[in-house]
Amino acid sequence: MSTAPPVSTGTPETGTARVKRGMAEQLKGGVIMDVVTPEQAKIAEDAGAVAVMALERVPADIRKDGGVARMSDPDMIDGIINAVSIPVMAKSRIGHFVEAQVLQALGVDYIDESEVLTPADEVNHSDKWAFTTPFVCGATNLGEALRRIAEGAAMIRSKGEAGTGNVVEAVRHMRQIRADIRRLTTLDETELFVAAKNLQAPYELVKEVAQHGKLPVVLFSAGGVATPADAALMMQLGAEGVFVGSGIFKSGDPAKRAAAVVKATTFFDDPDMIAKVSRGLGEAMVGINCDDLPETQRYANRGW
């Protein structure tokens, strides 16, 4: 799919799979930060974030406040778009394709069809091929990732458990996705048909992953990263970049922590550097033990 030759029409073409997936390629090795105000967006940009996620509340506050979590106010998204020169992402509810249409109309650079917001459709995700704006979606395993890609997602992130400051679920999902991919590469061609059935994913995508040993789109990590070492851990486990949600602006010194997470993501394999940037960051966000979360408050269970 990603390797298919383009049909050249001689004129500029927007919204192609290559342009959408290529945008995510440019974010690799970088950190995407949740922000709720233009001031926070500027702090993130100053710290070296490759993009910001414009939200009304960070996941930790969504958890605390309860109620229905929806797309952010367009004025608030505009405010953040106008505050920074780096790409701006925003979240739509799962299956709420009209929220996604609004986000596209606002000119956001990437739409996150996110389990952190309250799902609008418990059966269908949005048809992401219908948009010019690319989508990123969460996944807990390879089958889920490939179903999202089949629907048009141009980037995948491990779901983790957003708003907990606890990296355990992000690790679980990243390990699962990577292990599922490794297993596919050991199968012969005949076995791929049943593998597709078991993964509940399209055969063509399963075959592509088996051939290349990687997803056809960029894979980031999300959901629980709170420290530079957490970010480096996810990178060493095979993430191509990191989303940090509540971890930065729920900590003691957001500007310093944000810059440290960026540096640790670039030098994820250099413990001396990670040690150096981890000093004097003040308090990390408090965090939640995921075992104490009731099933209904586990965002990773949303989406399928």
């Binding site: 050249s8 500029p12 927007t14 440019q26 970088g30 070296g48 974030a49």
Partner: protein, 202 residues
């Protein structure tokens, strides 16, 4: 042309390093990631990948790479930049951050995010001076364009269709090469072959 295999670094602070590494290997160079001054010292040429130019600039300053990068480019090390890499090789930029540093080297003024936001990102065939075998497929992602070039810089490609028709999207000055678009995303390695030849000739 020498038959030796040049060692070409890919600036690996952030961006699509993997795609450039693959393209260089397929264009018969030995590709290596460069994140530290001592790694920069060991390469014959350097690719500056696509990515977020503000992030790259900030990290290059933070990790003490900007000075060594400027020194090597000034001393004649060949370098190729795509998209964010084009911004890094520009002597002057527009619409950057106020504190945004570039390596410089090419006498050109580059406008960051010139085509607009991601919804305006596009692909288009590009006629590229000095590359044979028909047009390249240019992939432009929140891309910069070149507002103007000085006398020593040579324009290699302009857009020939669409709303931004006429804008400069590829430039060469001596051993320095820059494109607004991302050949590393297409599987067509002719631009990388051109650059590998430039490194061999240096």
């Amino acid at each position: 042309m020498s038959s030796s295999t040049p060692v070409i670094g890919v600036l690996a602070l952030q961006g699509d390093v993997r795609e450039h590494t693959i393209a260089l290997a397929e264009a018969d160079a030995l590709a290596r990631p460069v994140r530290r001054p001592e790694e920069l010292a060991e390469v014959d040429g350097l690719v500056i990948p696509g990515g977020e130019s503000t992030t790259m600039s900030k990290l290059a300053v933070a990790f003490g790479l900007l000075g060594p990068l400027r020194e090597r480019v000034a001393a004649g090390m060949p370098a190729y930049g795509s998209c964010a890499g084009m911004i890094m090789l520009a002597d002057k930029i527009l619409d950057g951050r106020e504190d945004q540093e570039t390596i410089g080297g090419i006498d050109m003024i580059v406008r960051r995010n010139a085509f607009g936001r991601q919804n305006e990102s596009f692909e288009s065939p590009i006629d590229f001076t000095g590359i044979e075998g028909g047009p390249l497929q240019g992939v432009f992602i929140r891309a910069p364009w070149v507002e103007s070039v000085g006398a020593s810089a040579e324009v290699l490609a302009r857009l020939t269709a669409g709303p931004a028709q006429g804008h400069i999207v590829a430039v060469r000055q001596g051993g320095l090469l820059a494109t607004s678009f991302h050949p590393e995303l297409t599987g067509d390695h002719r631009v990388h072959r051109l650059f590998v030849d430039m490194v061999r000739a240096a």
